[in-house]
Symmetry: C3
Subunit: 677 residues, 3 copies
């Protein structure tokens, strides 16, 4: 499974636009209307066949490709390219009936049944074989179809299983990871509660047990699932590569704490990183989530050792936001704004789930580019406008994003912090990272995410929020970054454990004590509603959720706690380290407070205008600035301040960028020549 | 299973009074006291043997009827009639031990065990056979017992099962419903997520699966359970009819969203519709629920094609209301008031669970007509008073209820709206119907509920709240009602899907677009705490929970949205249609707002006095008006305004009705001659 | 299983100090540091080997004692005694793999797996045999080790199982308890819902069933589990006693509503009662819980028929409180204060979980006497101070506690009140008992808990809070106590059922009606947020949660209800009975209101200073008063008022007790001679 430089990238100066297209759910005549409407909307790519296994192979070994031939031919005829999916995320009912042991088993030992999607046990040999078989059949038939632009493997990998197949595969994986049982016993601290294993066969998935599970056991199981699914992906990728060496292969990554997939590692094995993004809040919360997802996806794609990958927003909701049980329509302009936010961050286009809202099935109330109301609708009109805009800005495809700051993002720390019985069950890794991103983004900075096991980029600021797991080597990497002149800001709960999840004793934050010049003696997590203060200069900021008893061992206090048991003790500290500075934030602050810390550390952000999202791009042929006004007020744009010389134009409005007024909710893409500012 | 005209009705001018009687739980000598107390209370009917299987058949094939003989003889001797129950709702422990596969299985595949009641798998052939056997034995012994007045089959049908027996029966039912697998695949939109079935054997109950279930699958399973249970009932009914053709057969229907029973269909197969009513709120909330349950039960009984059935309140709590985990005593007078509310609405009496509060068992803290404290108690004194009142108003039995308005009630829409992932998980079908009933009831109107697949009654107002499922034929029925001069008021989420649950595209509310003259483009469900407004004339009413983007296509705006994204767009619309009017209410309003809409549509209700419940009855021999004062203030009653001529009398107080002051909490039943008002 | 006088007690004038010591989790060299630090801290006892089975017997029949030899020798060399644990609370992975049927099964039938602790089925014959085997091996090797001071059997007994093994054992137990099936049917009221058993084989554990379980069934199952676990304990105790007749045997009892252990009965079979105490609130709430736990543990130990036992606080958290998902550090001084609170109440020392905070495993974020930060920490410094104080007050060990009041505590009533469908699901037995304790404790009284089936001590006040289950004999015992001059205060829901859980009819509180002179006709439980009043003299106290309709039948009203439906009716009553008084409190009051009732009944408590905890001790050689100031203000101490004559000294500060100022959070132990006050 060694990473390879991808042989294929999507065609250069093009932005894909389209969505999941499922004509098999509709009467034959709908396809003709679909193609007409796609033309009207400027659709360039349709994702076809995502769950179509039971249609493609209605009985074992009997294939029906005729309908799919018609779909591909028709789309091709209309100039629409196809991302052809392998349908392995939904094995057919006949398969589950014939192979009940290929169904997933939950932690209680309940074998799930057919009746939804994702009813597969990724560790089942029968399922693995059947997956390769249907992929081979697809590859044989369509590898050279002129519509084919992309292979889309599976869908949103993420189904857990605790089956016997899973147990066997888990043991094999553990042997590879730990080599000896003694090493596993050490890594998992199995002496605690007498869990010491004497033979490999004794090791099980973390199934239902009497009381608390061993967190190291759970963490390794999650890592195992990621690798096992990756293995399933690679089987398919290899078949597809062999059949069509020039067609890139991707799989759409989902994002959520239930997804046992490590995108850093997966990115190494796809030709194109594609992601699904479903913000769960509307309004400002959704804007932030969108920018976060775009920066994350770009970073996954960029930071592949040996060479970055292109990336693509493969799914987003066409017309709605699913917000806590309420499906809210997107506000006028939001479809374009969210799409452009991704394209600004490097997405090779804007794809949707789905082309046409379904009439039936579990997601019959999810949205479509063509909604239930049909093309005579606000949604479809906005879709057409977006298609138009994407055409106008296609030249930006492939240009590099210019980042101002870096933030570590580590799925393994996230998983580890999902364990029960941490010092506080109110600490949320994802929210900690999101908050850092949000605060930087609101000050006009563009953030690169970095994996802790690789060299960070050469940006002036590197923030390390709550990086629970940290290896010695990665800690050294942070020291080197600082030594060379970077400003490092580490927040609470970082570095407390090694990669097995074993706590580093002697004082927190473990490996980082020396670099930061502090020793944390005790945690003081705070209950809901509890508050303390912290003084930054003359201003008191609010502390909630988390605080710590910090001893200075080389650092100086930037901001002390104010009030409460820790009154006067260090809350935020700073230490000169080589040419740089290492900051430690021991408390959980609100957005304003954290923003103050960043300002103290590296000064104000470049574009603190409320709601203005600025992303700068550079390529061999020029420079672009994507501007998205998430606010309600119109903003006057000054190209010079954005680093563009005279003569810049806005590709969206096709007017000069000088004196441009960007209305609330509006988007602009300025093209110009970079000047030194 | 064709509906038949029932051969039997309960004896005409009589109101049954009594409750579940379980002398088997008590020492032998208690029976003598029971009979004495029943005489004191005026009890006329005792329900006997509801769960007595393990007592009647202590070992397979060995019967012990001696104790039951004594009970029936004793009751008969005291002039108390008997509703003799079949005990099939609780199979004996020996049966479950011998037939473990006759125990229900939950969606996770867990086979439940003996240890409560309802531990049967209604699809198990062994259970079906054993049910018929014990019923036959009972019928043979008691068919001609002089105490026998009613057969009471089973108890509160409603136990789900996902067993293999269930899977087989479900497939048989699906074949009958859909005929071909292609039709099923279409009805369920199985192309979505690749759920297409290739053979009947692949179809399973909607057991635990990996992700969202298919809502059409779940809906059909619920319909199947209703039919399967009905089948179990019919087996018993046929045995009982054969043995005693003159004794009516009933089963007590429960009410709750866990109950997979369609009362419209069941009513066609019983001789008497009987219901259990347990309001879950005390005070005003309980009064509303009681009136709602009574109107619903009467409607189930009345609307049987080919001829209405009598109905009976078979169970209510004797002395308490179970309100969110707190068992509250009924307020003084509430026992009579709730009972009379049902009798006013046509119930052939007032029955209770139970005669004597149990000392042990799962419901040992439930109430009885004879409470734990014994007969020297407020409860028992109120029970005796009620017995007295019922005797005085027996002449009303069988007289028709005069309704002022009709409201659709559709269990299948209810079930469909219990699906996950609707546009809002805050929409509650039952509450929508209850609200319409409540608002009409508070304005003094008596409501008939109607099933959407039958002709509505000739009343001036027909309200259709959130009727999610709607067939083309039923939509035409609503159009005809309007065309002929009716006022139709349809509320949001109506008509959006066909009976399979498939969304009708082109704009909501689907089949009703033309009739209502509107097209809804998008839903705007609202989160908890979110509010908008709607202007009716000069008054602003509050909108919460739900709103819609409505386009006028023939209708005119009665009330526009005020504030929010929909400001100025139509919220309530009206269209002339033939001799009538079709109104559409696209927003969720509070009670006052909805009342305003009804007033705009058809004028004020006849008796808007706070807390006064008025039900008019007419029969060949006269007219009656039931008055229940749920409020605290005394009200002066004017018989003329109630449509009665001079000389009316109050049967309860045995005084003239002229100038009658009805105290807070009081009841009156006026008899007089109807005049034209 | 007859109770025996324990042959052994811990050595007299000594207070144990130490904690769970798990050197097997650490590198070999850590043990040397441990022993050094133990010496510094004054540790006298280490609990060793609690879960070490998989280390001691790495493969079936293969033992590895070498490491444990080293640990014991080393500790002995340092003068630290050992509580040597039997490791049966965590069977090794190899055992579970070989004996899957020895794993516990939950109510749904899910067989749990290895992966935590407590993964045993206490009813499994294989597990029982293996337990005895490993215990025998330990006993053979270590019975005469000079470090051995105490056998610590198992850990926190409490694992439920619904397995087939459990079903068989349950039936055997039921036969012994009920003798005949008829008796069982009567006791459980199986006629309700047709649950009548015809053969023993039909009886199952209360596994998942369709609807409500039978509460008598559930209650007996819980009693059975207690006895079955006790049996497992006795097997081990007998082996250990035989091997080392002079070494006392204990097991650490846990406390929680999930624990099916009846401490009254267990105390009869141990040589030393030991308990684990984990308050779940910090601050004042934790202080109360600590005093409650200490009084409870002492009472369990004291009230053994035929002779009291010593007791020991075996586990407490070293540095933190786990409070609703947040692990809070103990406040400065709290470690000592909580420890002294237990020692004041008779604990033979203060032990902790655990010596050294673990780096890995499920409790890696739990605290240690040596925290993650190491010995250079506030925690370890406070631990050392505590060791010092304990040395200075060792002379108090074994002296009797002087109690002022008694309160019934009945685990069976607690269990019974955990049933579903009580008149209110808001009533909480444990909280009711805690409230009575708290109110008495705050007024300076020391409380003895009493078991209802034994003679209460001769104290002036006996409070009986919500004693749901009551036998005739126990009711007579309460009458005798009162007759002889005691003041008895009974609160609501007492005496309503017999020991099978069967309600006593005729009016509540059943057997106590005559003694109290009241008859309760109806319960009026109150919903959340609902309030009423009660007038005590001129002051109105608040009533929430519970009220009752009380009839006087011999008693007089002390306080009537004020407002609400019960306005003017008796809320608190009093009846002269022989030389004493029997009070009834029918309402739930807040702390102040309940305090008022106690004051009315027996006058003010002796030390109502806020936050001052006073425990008096007497022994043959003197008298001591433990003072713990849980408040923030310093208090002046007057030895005379505490019953000490001139010349008293404070052992903690080693100064004269005259004019002693006890600072907020401070502790003092005064020694002096008792005077008559």
């Amino acid at each position: 499974m060694a990473a390879q430089t991808p042989p294929h990238t999507p065609p250069g100066r093009q932005l894909w636009f389209g969505g999941d297209h499922n004509p098999e759910q509709w009467p034959e005549e709908t396809l003709a209307e679909d193609v007409d409407l796609m033309r009207r909307a400027g659709v360039t790519l349709a994702t076809v066949g995502v769950f179509a296994w039971s249609r493609l192979e209605p009985r074992e070994g009997e294939y029906d490709f005729a309908w799919l031939d018609r779909v591909l031919d028709r789309l091709h005829g209309a100039g629409v390219q196809v991302a052809l999916a392998t349908p392995t995320a939904s094995p057919p009912p006949w398969f589950s009936l014939a192979h009940p042991d290929a169904l997933p088993v939950n932690a209680d030992g309940v074998r799930l049944t057919h009746g939804s999607r994702d009813t597969y046990d990724v560790c089942s040999p029968d399922y693995r074989r059947a997956s390769v078989r249907i992929v081979r059949a697809l590859a044989e038939r369509y590898a050279h179809h002129p519509a084919l632009a992309l292979w889309h493997v599976h869908n949103e990998y993420g189904t857990w299983t605790y089956s016997e197949h899973g147990a066997r595969a888990f043991r094999d994986w553990l042997r590879r990871r730990h080599d000896t049982l003694d090493a596993l016993n050490r890594a998992w601290t199995t002496e605690f509660w007498g869990q010491r294993y004497g033979a490999w066969d004794e090791v099980l998935p973390p199934r239902a047990t009497q009381y608390l599970a061993n967190p190291a056991h759970v963490l390794d199981f999650r890592r195992f699932l990621s690798d096992e699914m990756l293995d399933h992906f690679l089987d398919q990728r290899d078949v597809l590569r062999t059949a069509s060496p020039d067609v890139p292969v991707t799989t759409n990554l989902a994002f959520g704490d239930w997804v046992p997939v490590d995108p850093w590692r997966w990115a190494e094995h796809v030709d194109l990183v594609s992601v699904d993004d479903y913000p769960d809040r509307s309004g400002a919360g959704g804007d932030e989530q969108t920018a976060f997802a775009g920066d994350l996806a770009r970073s996954w794609a960029d930071r592949v050792p040996g060479g970055g990958r292109p990336w693509l927003l493969m799914e987003q909701a066409a017309g709605v936001v699913h917000e806590k049980g309420v499906v809210r329509p997107k506000a006028p302009g939001e479809i374009a704004r969210h799409s452009l936010s991704h394209v600004a961050r490097g997405s090779r286009g804007a794809m949707f789930f789905q082309w046409r809202a379904s009439r039936g099935g579990a997601e019959q109330w999810y949205s479509g580019m063509v909604p239930h109301a049909g093309p005579d609708s606000r949604i479809f009109r906005e879709v057409c406008e977006l298609g138009d805009v994407l055409g106008r800005i296609a030249e930006t495809a492939g240009a590099d994003v210019v980042a101002d700051a870096a933030v570590t993002w580590d799925p393994e720390s996230w998983w580890a912090m999902n364990a029960t019985r941490l010092p506080s069950d109110r600490v949320d890794y994802l929210e900690a990272v999101r908050q850092v991103h949000r605060v930087l983004w609101r000050s006009g900075r563009t953030v690169d995410f970095v994996r802790p096991d690789r060299e960070p980029p050469r940006v002036p600021l590197l923030v390390v929020p709550s990086l629970y797991l940290l290896s010695e080597r990665d800690a050294e990497r942070l020291a080197r970054y600082t030594e060379r002149g970077g400003t490092l800001v580490v927040t609470y709960l970082s570095g407390v454990a090694d990669p097995t999840g074993t706590v580093r004793t002697g004082g927190y934050p473990g490996m980082l004590r020396d670099l930061l010049g502090v020793r944390v003696e005790e945690f003081h997590p705070m209950a809901e509603g509890e508050k303390a203060g912290m003084d930054v200069g003359m201003v008191r900021e609010e502390v909630t959720l988390w605080s710590e008893r910090v001893h200075l061992e080389g650092a100086e206090t930037v901001a002390p706690y104010a009030g409460g048991e820790l009154d006067g003790l260090p809350a935020v500290t700073r230490r000169r380290y080589g040419a740089g500075e290492a900051w430690y934030v021991s408390a959980h602050l609100n957005d304003r407070g954290l923003g103050r810390v960043f300002t103290e550390a590296i000064g104000q952000g470049p574009f603190p205008e409320e709601g203005l999202d600025v992303v700068r791009r550079v390529g061999p042929e020029g420079a672009w600035v994507f501007l998205t006004n998430h606010g309600h007020r119109a903003l006057r744009i000054d190209p010079a301040r954005l680093g563009l010389g005279a003569g810049a134009v806005d590709l969206v409005s096709k007017t000069s960028a000088e004196g441009l007024m960007l209305p609330g909710g509006g988007v602009a893409v300025l093209r110009g020549h970079p000047v030194d500012n």
